[in-house]
Point group: C2
Chain length 309, copies 2
């Protein structure tokens, strides 16, 4: 077994931090560590929390962490912020939060921005969740900003996906358009002291009528006021009920299977793209394209025919 994998299983938090850096930086030992850790998953309850930037997600997650800790549960958090692929960007909010929980060994927060290529963020997020599960947190929270396609991909790793909305925000339509409605297992109306809660409830219920769900499960709606710590216990209660539903129906196992199968494709895809990038150094097709001597489709055909598989 890889030394780092061994240390992670033994709950060495510095090894965990280092392991996640391996994932982010695509270290050569990455796959071998993930292989070693695969059988070591402790079965954490993985909860995805998504919602638009202004929805008060960070403070909600913060309250949720406090709540879980006060119930004696350990928590790993992956805060995913697909900010500008150009500017990089520091995740100030998460740094503030990290400072708050800094001295608590039962909380581990890791922020992730967009790095590298297509699909890279979703892949690294999932691998990080695997690693945290092998380490052994009771609950793993995956927090994402926004409602784009990449968030949908990221959310696939969660057992339970919670969507945070605000009264009067008009977010429901956007959430629906983004396909979030179909993956939501639980809705959270945050800032429930603002006017428009009952209208938002009606909108959510109306949208839920439009999309297909399992006959036995209809996503519940929690109301929270995170500044006043209100409603957090409902979020947890609903999440546990959903997990129970997954267990009772076998849907949880089927979901895990799909996730694992998808991971095969993602890993293969990513490694292939790296190989192709390396290949590009050979030959002068970039120069030929620059001089307009050849078209991209011919180059692509040539590369593909060389691969011969």
């Amino acid at each position: 077994m890889h030394d780092l994998a061994k240390k992670i299983i033994e709950k060495d938090v510095r090894a965990l931090a280092r392991g996640i850096s391996f994932l982010e930086n695509d270290h050569p030992d990455k796959l071998s560590i993930l292989k070693d850790l695969h059988a070591e998953g402790k079965g954490a309850h993985i909860i995805g929390i998504t919602g638009s930037p202004g929805a008060g997600k960070s403070s909600l997650v913060n309250r949720f962490i406090q709540y879980l800790r006060s119930n004696g549960l350990t928590v790993g958090i992956v805060a995913v912020d697909p900010t500008s692929p150009f500017s990089g960007g520091a995740l100030l909010g998460d740094r503030v939060r990290m400072a708050e929980h800094f001295t608590d060994p039962g909380v581990f927060i890791r922020s992730m921005g967009t790095r590298g290529s297509l699909g890279g963020l979703a892949r690294t997020t999932k691998e990080t969740v695997r690693m945290m599960d092998a380490y052994g947190f009771d609950v793993i929270l995956v927090e994402t900003v926004g409602v784009g396609q990449s968030e949908l991909d990221i959310m696939k790793v969660a057992d339970t996906t919670a969507v945070v909305l605000n009264p009067g925000s008009g977010d429901v339509v956007q959430v629906f358009k983004a396909g979030i409605m179909e993956i939501a297992d639980l809705f959270i109306i945050n800032k429930a002291d603002l006017p428009g809660v009952s209208k938002l409830m009606t909108e959510i219920e109306g949208m839920l009528d439009l999309v297909k769900h399992d006959a036995d499960y209809r996503p519940p709606i929690a109301q929270t006021i995170s500044t006043q710590k209100k409603g957090i216990e409902d979020v947890w209660g609903f999440a546990r009920k959903h997990l129970q539903y997954l267990k009772d129906t076998g849907e949880g196992d089927r979901k895990k299977t799909r996730i694992l199968q998808d991971e095969v494709i993602e890993v293969v895809h990513y490694e292939l793209m790296k190989m192709i990038e390396r290949r590009q150094q050979d030959g002068d097709w970039r120069g030929q394209i620059e001089r307009r001597e050849i078209d991209p489709y011919t180059v692509a055909s040539n590369i593909l025919s060389e691969l011969d598989f």
Copy 2:
């Protein structure tokens, strides 16, 4: 030369429509047609128009089409709507628009929703633009909803990217976070009869100060009221100035080169993923994963080592 390619160059609009369907459905002749058309690009001015759902983009684009037509220019439009990958979704707004321009042979509108896999939409959009350029429209408009990563990818195909914002919407921060600021060549404040225009102008200018731009080019800001046809000529004027800047500095050529080089990678990537999907039918690794007999990283390693390149 492929028969369909020949007909497209000869301005057969039904051949164009059919060709685009070939792209969408990933027809076996697709690459060969694209190869034939590559050298036939007429150098249309490709203008990307992006902005959040409520920004009045559709009516703005409609006015813009009317304006271009009244100036004797032909217009191809690709309306990209990455709606739910689950629900599919009809693009009602575009159907209404199509009806409006139905009898005008100088306007061709094609709507695209999310179909197929990762990156597929951006790829098909770019290929459609290539095809429309070979057909010979003077201007090609690429309209996208939202500000996600896939929109960023799509916008790379444009010579000039316009970002539509509304006064009082608070969109600027989201646009900035999504990395749109760095690709914007031109801002359009639509609904400029609403209060808050000068505040929005200040916000945009402030954001522009934060991001890197070419020293010689700072994106201008147009103000439009599309319901009153106001300001549309400014949009066109700014777009032409930007194109001139691209020509004068050689930046346009460099951009085209990058786009073509990226297309190689995208095509190779897509074709490889198709091959891997086909491969999956062989072997029982999906079953093995379902029975938890093997981990995804081992399967991925096995597939990769088989490829041997």
